[in-house]
């Protein structure tokens, strides 16, 4: 079990540019005994999860295990039925939590850059918003498409615009609900590398829900497996970045998680 790797991982996951209050670092959010019911159906049952600021957490599990519900609770889209959810202190000029959906959800009647500006609602407006949106678009490699309609972009490009929209407000927490699920395999790897690069620059706390174990170990510092509404496995991924896709180390961890998921551990 992961007890040994747990301590080893900490040193690899640095959180620079932010003061570290304790050995554990600043807390981004914590779930305490959180449960969620929809009618009679118990989706989440006693979730305890403490995440440090700047950590990249992947949440995986089989379909219907409640992983998306966990994310919606974190983003404030739903309220827990029981237990409590605490968020770390907010910072001036930052949006607290941003949500990236499975679909791009761009407004088709706004140009690409105006769609990104939506991410600055209540943070910046006018020329400043436009400048920041353009800078963010440049970061995801779409600066030259700023004035086009979303309908002319490819699926991967649309999701990159959605990523720019999510990050332009410099969120402290980015919640990602299988945002790469609908992309083809190559675009997917490209997007994973883009996401990792931007995360290394901005050091927000990322919570990625995915059903792809390979994606989880490639991106995350910590992989949380949800099964039957509970945390079934909480494993650190102590691999240096930037990570190389398909390395033996990642494959070993991926194998261990898959074994656990299918009860072969």
């Amino acid at each position: 079990m992961p007890a040994a790797t747990l301590t080893a991982a900490r040193s690899l996951v640095a959180t620079p540019a932010r003061p570290i209050g304790s050995v554990e670092g600043r807390r981004a959010f914590a779930f305490k005994e959180v449960g969620k019911r929809f009618g009679d159906k118990i989706v989440l049952d006693g979730i305890d999860l403490d995440v440090r600021a700047g950590q990249f957490v992947a949440v995986i599990g089989k379909s219907g295990c409640g992983k998306s519900t966990l994310l919606r609770l974190l983003a404030g889209l739903d309220r827990p039925s029981s237990g409590s959810l605490t968020l770390g202190a907010g910072e001036e000029g930052h949006s607290r939590t941003r949500f990236m959906f499975q679909e791009p959800r761009l407004l088709p009647w706004m140009s690409v850059v105006r769609n990104v500006e939506i991410g600055l609602t209540g943070i910046a407006g006018g020329t400043e918003a436009r400048q920041r949106a353009l800078a963010m678009l440049a970061e995801v490699g779409l600066a030259d498409r700023a004035d086009e309609w979303p309908s002319v972009l490819s699926g991967g490009q649309k999701q990159r615009v959605a990523l720019a929209r999510a990050l332009v407000g410099q969120p402290q927490i980015l919640a990602l609900d299988e945002p790469l699920g609908a992309l083809d395999a190559l675009t997917r790897i490209e997007m994973q590398q883009l996401l990792e690069r931007i995360w290394l620059n901005q050091r927000f706390t990322a919570v990625l829900v995915t059903h792809d174990v390979g994606e989880a170990v490639a991106l995350a510092d910590r992989v949380v497996v949800i099964g039957e509404g509970r945390i079934a496995l909480d494993l650190d991924v102590p691999v240096a970045r930037p990570r190389r896709h398909g390395s033996a180390e990642l494959a070993r961890i991926e194998g261990a998680i898959l074994d656990h998921l299918f009860g072969r551990g």
Binding site: A75, L77, S95, R98, F99, F101, E103, R105, L107, P108, W109, M110, I118, G119, T121, G122, W149, S151, V152, R165
Partner: protein, 259 residues
């Protein structure tokens, strides 16, 4: 070919058929195939046009009819739009009014003409009432449909990104409902002319419909045909204006993008 030339070419192509019909009609009239007391030649209609233009009668009647059409449209259209918005956005409002409106919708509004004459006589109110009623439903139904059809995922995205109610309405809901609202607008413009013609033909003392009915009394068949042609032109004009508005405001829609 440049885009402008192509657009001009396309709209020219649309006028080829009407022009050919008029030419054929003129030839048939001159050859005596169509008796003048059944259908006068286009040249005779043109003459009537010129005569009535000189006397000022035509312009005055077109003005009266257009004013009626537009005021009726403004009244019925704005009420329909407002109720469509209210019922699209509020379940309470929809619960209170939608059933009633759907019942009234199934009454052909022209069936109310006898009642309207009893209420208003043949004054302006009668025409305004009928046009407003006729225009109301297409605008109402399509506005409601448009708002209900807005992608709930986009609305959720707007909420998550902190758009307030006002921003949510103007940036997400209204633009999303606009294509459907335009369908209602174009449909309503057709109904607007139809209603007005019928109302003016039955009960009026001025306007194009009245002019046509007077001409019938005096067997001025060229004026009757002229009135009908003017209706066609006015209808086409209204539709073209709506299309222009549509193109200007729906540039983002894949259906309106140049390929």
């Amino acid at each position: 070919m440049s885009l402008a030339a192509r657009i001009a070419g396309n709209s020219l192509a649309g006028w080829l058929l009407p022009a050919a019909i008029i030419a054929g009609w003129e030839i048939a009239s001159r050859a005596g195939l169509i008796p003048a007391n059944v259908l006068p030649a286009p040249s005779a209609v043109a003459e009537a046009f010129w005569r009535l233009t000189l006397s000022g009668e035509l312009i005055r009647n077109i003005g009266v009819s257009t004013l009626r059409a537009l005021s009726g449209f403004a009244i019925g259209g704005s009420i329909g739009f407002a109720l469509g918005l209210a019922n699209g956005l509020s379940t309470l409002s929809r619960g209170l009014t939608d059933t009633t409106l759907q019942m009234i919708r199934n009454i052909p509004h022209l069936a109310l003409i006898p009642l309207v004459i009893l209420w208003f006589g043949i004054d302006e109110e009668a025409k305004l009432f009928l046009v407003a009623l006729g225009v109301f439903f297409p605008i109402y139904v399509n506005t409601l449909l448009g708002i209900q059809g807005v992608d709930p995922q986009l609305v959720e995205m707007g909420r998550v990104y902190g758009l307030d109610r006002r921003a949510l309405f103007f940036r997400v809901i209204l633009p999303g409902a606009l294509p459907s609202i335009f369908v209602g607008l174009r449909y309503a413009l057709g109904i607007m002319w139809l209603t007005l013609i019928v109302a003016e033909t039955i009960a009026a003392s001025s306007g194009l419909g009245y002019m046509a009915m007077q001409a019938r009394e005096f067997l001025l068949i060229d004026v009757v045909v002229l009135s009908i042609l003017i209706y066609a032109l006015l209808g086409k004009l209204a539709d073209s204006l709506a299309r222009l508005l549509e193109r200007l405001s729906l540039g983002w829609h894949p259906a309106f993008q140049k390929r």
